[in-house]
Every structure is written in structure tokens, then in C-alpha cells.
């Protein structure tokens, strides 16, 4: 094994700018994916039949098809002129991001919905019986309790999202996997490159999992 390329500033630069891009993609998809997840979650929880069916079909469809297919399909449908912003080609970045957000919102929505449903019915009744309205009940009573069930599952989803950003390689976005391809083809150190890349991904996912575990602990009130 020859890991000497990790000492070469040129390859190191490629790998770390790839890591930076992966981090950016992951952050965007984690933050916006979670926020967007509330929309199908609340649609599906609503008593409105049409909203319920739309949301259910959306979630089933997204979860039942490969992310790669979704990304390539959306990329082929959303044709944008090539605009380079901060070194990123927006014509592939935007459709890619869109696909990733659509995908993660479907998974996150199921996590949020499950969390909300895990709160016993009596809690809602108690809040309503005190004259609280639906919005107050959701904000002050249901969500704070649901979050306890949402956080651990969301942590797993964040880790998944970070790993799934590797799909952007197919759109020619210079994230970590793309950087790996460059390093591999010029150094011929195939195994070594992927070992380094694996470690770099792990450096993102492991602290994420740890951080979520910390939040989980902080949120668990007296037992």
C-alpha cells in the first residue's frame, strides 16, 4: 500500500475541497430536508382525505424507488443553463439538490409522523380539555414530546443523507467521491484512495451520530 499521496498538497487539496463540498451538500440536505419533511408529515396526519392520499403516495413512491433513479430523472427533466457560482455548476447542483431534498423529505416525514403518533392520545385530550387550541397543543404539548422519538431516528437519517451525497458524483459535482476519482486515476492507488475517502466520510458521520446522541440525552427528561 502506498499512502504517500496523502502527503502531497496537490492531492490533499483535491480531497479536502471534495470533503468541503460533501459537507456543504450534507448540511443543505439535512437542514432543508428536515424542514421540508414537516409538510408531508402534517399532510398525512391531517383529517383531510385528499391531502392524506397525496402525501401517502408521495412517500411510498419516493421510498420505493432508488435515489440514483430519482436524481438522474430530475436532472434530465430540470434543464438549466450552465451558471458557475463559487466554483459550483448550478445547472447540475440545483437539480441534484432538489432530488436529494425530495428524497430526504419523504424519509424525514415518516420519522416526524411516527414521533407525533407516539405521543399518547391522552396528552392531546388533556391539552384540549384545558382550552388550548390545536396549534398550542401541537407546539407546547405534542411536538416537545414527539421530538424525543424523532431525534434518534433523525440521527440515522442524517448519517444516511451524508453518505447519499456521494450520488452527486454522477452529476459531475466535485464532492468527495468525485475527488476520489481524480486522485485514483492519477495516482493509481485505488485501494488507498478509497480507504482515505472512507475515513473522511466516517469523520463526518461519526460526530453527527455522536452529536445526535448528545441531544437525545439532553432531551430525555427525568425518568
Amino acid at each position: 500500500m502506498d499512502f504517500s499521496f496523502v502527503l502531497d498538497p496537490y492531492y490533499l487539496g483535491i480531497l479536502f475541497s471534495g470533503l468541503g463540498m460533501t459537507l456543504l451538500l450534507a448540511l443543505l440536505s439535512v437542514v432543508f430536508g428536515s424542514m421540508l419533511g414537516f409538510i408531508p408529515a402534517f399532510m398525512r396526519l391531517s383529517r383531510h382525505k385528499v391531502l392524506h392520499v397525496i402525501s401517502k403516495s408521495y412517500v411510498e413512491l419516493i421510498r420505493g424507488t432508488p435515489l440514483l433513479v430519482q436524481v438522474l430523472l430530475i436532472y434530465s427533466m430540470v434543464r438549466l443553463p450552465v451558471v458557475v457560482f463559487l466554483g459550483i455548476d448550478l445547472s447540475s447542483f440545483i437539480p441534484g439538490m432538489l432530488a436529494l431534498l425530495i428524497n430526504s423529505s419523504a424519509y424525514v416525514s415518516e420519522i416526524i409522523r411516527g414521533g407525533i403518533l407516539s405521543v399518547p392520545k391522552g396528552q392531546k385530550e388533556a391539552a384540549l380539555s384545558l382550552g388550548m387550541n390545536q396549534k398550542q397543543t401541537m407546539r407546547k404539548i405534542i411536538l416537545p414530546q414527539a421530538i424525543k422519538h424523532i431525534i434518534p431516528a433523525l440521527g440515522n437519517e442524517f448519517v444516511t443523507m451524508i453518505k447519499e451525497t456521494s450520488i452527486f458524483m454522477y452529476l459531475g459535482i466535485a464532492e468527495l467521491m468525485y475527488a476520489a476519482t481524480i486522485v485514483r486515476t492519477s495516482t493509481y492507488a485505488v485501494k488507498e484512495t478509497y480507504i482515505v475517502v472512507a475515513i473522511l466520510y466516517f469523520m463526518l458521520t461519526f460526530p453527527t451520530a455522536k452529536l445526535m446522541g448528545y441531544f437525545e440525552k439532553r432531551l430525555s427528561y427525568a425518568k
Binding site: 399518547p120 388533556a126 384545558l130 382550552g131 388550548m132 414530546q145 427525568a222 425518568k223
Partner: protein, 250 residues
């Protein structure tokens, strides 16, 4: 003292989506400042009847008037109504993510728009009365069942309701904790608040009810009257049977 009716229930029926009949043509008047206790075998619709009074359940037929207003009118303000009709649940339903003090102040501040400091001092006054003042910073699951239920009663009381509904308030309690809850309920009776109670505590019903309502399978009221009549000379055969079943001593 002449009693004004607070709730006037007429020809109330409730059929659940699966076809079970929970209430069948129930008519009942509940007077202000009185203690109305609903008894009957399980599945007789006692809780359902109680839950229609604060619109946790909607009947499929019939009318309910509260202070002369039809509460089933689509324009009736349900949230306003629930401020005046509190509820105490079998499983307490305190909010587990909030401390005891927060449990008692949340709705005062959010619903009644009371000042936080006023809400706290009102809560503290009551907590001191029931001897739970040192628990303010505890979470509900750090309290015994009896303590939790007493806090739940205070939570309802702090809304200054006209009436409180009790849905089997002692059924989930260990026997040694039933008394402390019943004693608090007894204290409430003295304040003159209207109480509507579903319970299996026959001793309590016999001593403190102004009116006993007996329900039977199928959601019908089969008899109502003063406890001295219901317990000593029930007219309905099924009432006799129910009472003899529940009062059997070995």
C-alpha cells in the same frame, strides 16, 4: 336553594364509526353547584356521556345545552367552552415533559392569558393547600399516582371552571392512594363547583352525590335520583343487580 340547570342533555345518541352504540336516547339535566355521579357497568357509555360535555366526543344525535346555549351549534366556540368545563382523566394525563409547576401554569398563561407571576402564585397557593408545594420542580413521573392525580385536579381547577368532569379519577390508582384523591374531591364539593363524576367508588357516591345517574349496557340511563333512593330502594331491576354485583362482600 333553587338550582339552575347547567347542562341540559336531550335525546343524546352516539354511534361510533364501527357501529357500536355508546349512547342511546339519553336525556339528563345537570344542576349548577351539584355533584352528579354516573355509575353503571363497563361499556354502558358513562365515559362517552361525560366526554360529550366538553366536546371531546360529538354525539350523533340530540342536543346539549350549557348555560342555555346549544354547544353542538357549529358556530359555538368549543375552545371557549372547554375553559369553563375542566376535565380530570383516569390516567391523569399530566404533561411529562413539564415540571409540576409548569403543568399548572401553562394553560393559565397560554389560554387565560394570565400574568406568569399571577399564574405561579395561584398554583402555589393550591399546591400548598394539598401539601405538594415541595414538588414544584419535579416531573410528573417522579410523583406517585395519587399525587399526580391531585396535581391534575389542581390543573383543571386553576382554570376557574364552572364545572369539572371526572372520568374514573381513581380507577388507575393503587388502593392506598384512592383516599387522598377522594378527600381532595370532597374538599372541592365544599367550594360549590359543579362536579360530574364517573366512578366505581360507591361509598363516595353514596355520601357526596346530589344525584346518581345509573347507566346500563347499550348506553341508556335506566334510573336517576338521590343516592338514598338509588342505593336503598332502587326501582329498576338492573340497578339492583348492578349494585349487588359491585357491593358484594365476601
Amino acid at each position: 336553594m333553587p338550582n339552575n340547570s347547567l347542562f341540559k342533555i336531550e335525546k343524546l345518541s352516539k354511534v361510533f364509526e364501527d357501529g357500536t352504540k355508546a349512547l342511546d336516547d339519553v336525556s339528563l339535566t345537570i344542576n349548577q353547584h351539584e355533584v352528579t355521579i354516573i355509575i353503571g357497568p363497563s361499556g354502558s357509555g358513562k365515559s362517552t356521556l361525560l366526554r360529550t360535555l366538553n366536546l371531546m366526543e360529538y354525539p350523533t344525535e340530540g342536543t346539549i345545552e350549557f348555560e342555555g346555549k346549544n354547544i353542538l351549534n357549529p358556530n359555538y366556540d368549543v375552545y371557549e367552552h372547554r375553559k369553563h368545563v375542566g376535565m380530570v382523566f383516569q390516567n391523569f394525563n399530566l404533561f411529562p415533559h413539564l415540571t409540576i409547576l409548569e403543568n399548572l401554569t401553562l394553560a393559565q398563561v397560554d389560554v387565560l392569558k394570565r400574568d406568569k407571576s399571577e399564574a405561579i402564585s395561584k398554583a402555589m397557593t393550591l399546591l400548598e393547600k394539598v401539601g405538594l408545594a415541595e414538588k414544584i420542580n419535579n416531573y410528573p413521573n417522579q410523583l406517585s399516582g395519587g399525587q399526580q392525580q391531585r396535581v391534575a385536579i389542581l390543573r383543571a381547577l386553576l382554570m376557574d371552571p364552572t364545572a369539572i368532569l371526572f372520568d374514573e379519577p381513581t380507577s388507575a390508582l393503587d388502593p392506598e392512594m384512592i383516599k387522598e384523591v377522594l378527600l381532595l374531591m370532597k374538599d372541592l364539593i365544599q367550594t360549590g363547583i359543579t362536579m360530574i363524576i364517573v366512578t366505581h367508588e360507591m361509598g363516595f357516591a353514596r355520601h357526596f352525590a346530589d344525584k346518581i345517574v345509573v347507566m346500563d349496557k347499550g348506553g341508556k340511563i335506566i334510573e336517576e335520583g338521590h343516592p338514598s333512593v338509588i342505593f336503598n330502594e332502587p326501582k329498576n331491576e338492573k340497578t339492583k343487580q348492578f349494585l349487588s354485583n359491585i357491593l358484594t362482600s365476601f
